[in-house]
């Protein structure tokens, strides 16, 4: 089912493994989320996202694996503002990391530094290149 189609989502047994995998990888219980939206309201990068962080949380609760196709998980910069503000104590940034890992472990790289020009490579500091590769490549 495409995201945002407006149809009713049903949480079936066949969808549970995805939610469990996210829990196992992140250590976070997404079931605690009651959709207050604090994560989304404090997130500095929502302008660039296709789904709000709180929507990602809801979809993970419902076991919708299609959330892995969302742009949002790659836009999250792990600034942890959501982690500090979540009234349910969920580390939302950690959930985003688990979602990235689920994709990266399929030998997927979101970015490749091969496309950077020599000039870009010269000006970019190691701290940017290393943290970028750490987050966005498998």
């Amino acid at each position: 089912m495409p995201l945002g189609s407006g149809e009713t989502l049903r949480l079936g047994e066949e969808l549970k493994p995805f939610r469990e995998r996210v829990k196992e990888l992140s250590g976070e219980d997404v079931g605690l989320c009651y959709q207050c939206g604090a994560c989304s309201s404090g997130c500095p990068l929502t302008d660039e996202m296709d789904l709000l962080p709180s929507t990602v949380m809801r979809l993970v609760q419902l076991g919708v694996e299609d959330v892995l196709n969302s742009k949002t998980i790659w836009i999250c910069s792990s600034c942890f503002t959501c982690q500090v503000r979540c009234p349910r104590g969920i580390d939302v940034a950690n959930v985003m990391e688990a979602l990235r890992q689920l994709v990266l472990r399929r030998r997927y790289d979101r970015v490749s530094i091969d496309i950077l020009t020599q000039e870009e490579l010269r000006e970019l500091p190691q701290i940017a290149l290393v943290s970028c590769q750490r987050k966005l490549t498998g």
Binding site: E48, F80, T81, D91, I127, A128
Partner: protein
């Protein structure tokens, strides 16, 4: 294996104690990202038995296993421990009349439980600025993300985040921004020309490491390396009588 490198660094700290080079297994970092990475890896190693086993299994060629004893602190924490009064005593040239906006970014304060101060109401850099005789300008975006590594593949989006922080500091009357993280420094200072191209109303504001402000206040002009900042803070400091 993301945690191997930081754990090897922490093992070197314990080895330094073994060798009698230092008394305590403490490591002080200047960089916010080093602080965060070392501190969080240390926590995982101490508390996650699975991770610890995996890390140990691939560190078999080390002299000994890491004992989990190293403490990771940031230089600002060490200064606080030394005492702000002691810091004040060293000041030869108080930063009088200099309006400084402390900028923490993410990694000094978050995730909760790993920061050097309260994640929402930090005071530590403010205390340092006051100890140096400067005036604190409290900006709401002081712990908002600068764009971080998105400067590699989404540089315009990252530049917008940094621009908003810089603009807010300017609008609130700050003369300059003080920070700790080299990636924030890159995004806020080295990306200046990109920010200027994207946002025509942008007025540059000097961005300095907090250590440069310390050097300036301690009378160590050479060591402050203010010729490396962009924009150059020296004309402004000269105006205030803080530079020759």
């Amino acid at each position: 294996m993301h945690h191997l490198a930081p754990i090897r660094v922490l093992l070197r700290v314990e080895e330094a104690v073994d060798a009698g080079l230092v008394d305590e297994p403490r490591v002080v970092t200047l960089c916010a990202m080093c602080y965060n990475t070392l501190k969080r890896a240390n926590h995982l190693y101490r508390n996650d038995a699975d991770k610890r086993r995996v890390i140990e299994s691939i560190m078999e060629k080390e002299s000994r296993p890491y004992g989990g004893k190293a403490e990771v602190i940031h230089l600002l924490q060490l200064l606080k421990e030394v005492g702000w009064e002691k810091v004040s005593e060293r000041v030869e040239k108080p930063l009088e009349g200099l309006k400084i906006a402390p900028y923490y970014g993410c990694l000094l304060l978050r995730p909760r439980g790993f920061g050097i101060d309260d994640p929402e109401e930090p005071r530590i850099m403010e205390s340092l600025i006051e100890a140096l005789g400067g005036e604190v300008v409290d900006i709401p975006f002081k712990s908002r993300c600068c764009g971080a590594y998105h400067t590699v593949f989404m540089k315009e989006e990252a530049a917008e985040l940094s621009y908003k922080i810089l603009r807010q500091a300017s609008e609130m009357g700050a003369d300059l921004i003080a920070l700790s993280c080299p990636l924030c420094m890159f995004n806020m200072a080295d990306r200046k020309s990109l920010i200027e191209r994207l946002f025509r109303d942008f007025k540059g504001i000097p961005v300095l490491y907090f250590t440069q402000l310390m050097a300036l206040a301690f009378g160590l002009e050479e060591e402050a390396h203010l010729d490396e900042n962009n924009p150059d803070p020296r004309p402004l400091l000269r105006e205030r009588g803080l530079w020759r």
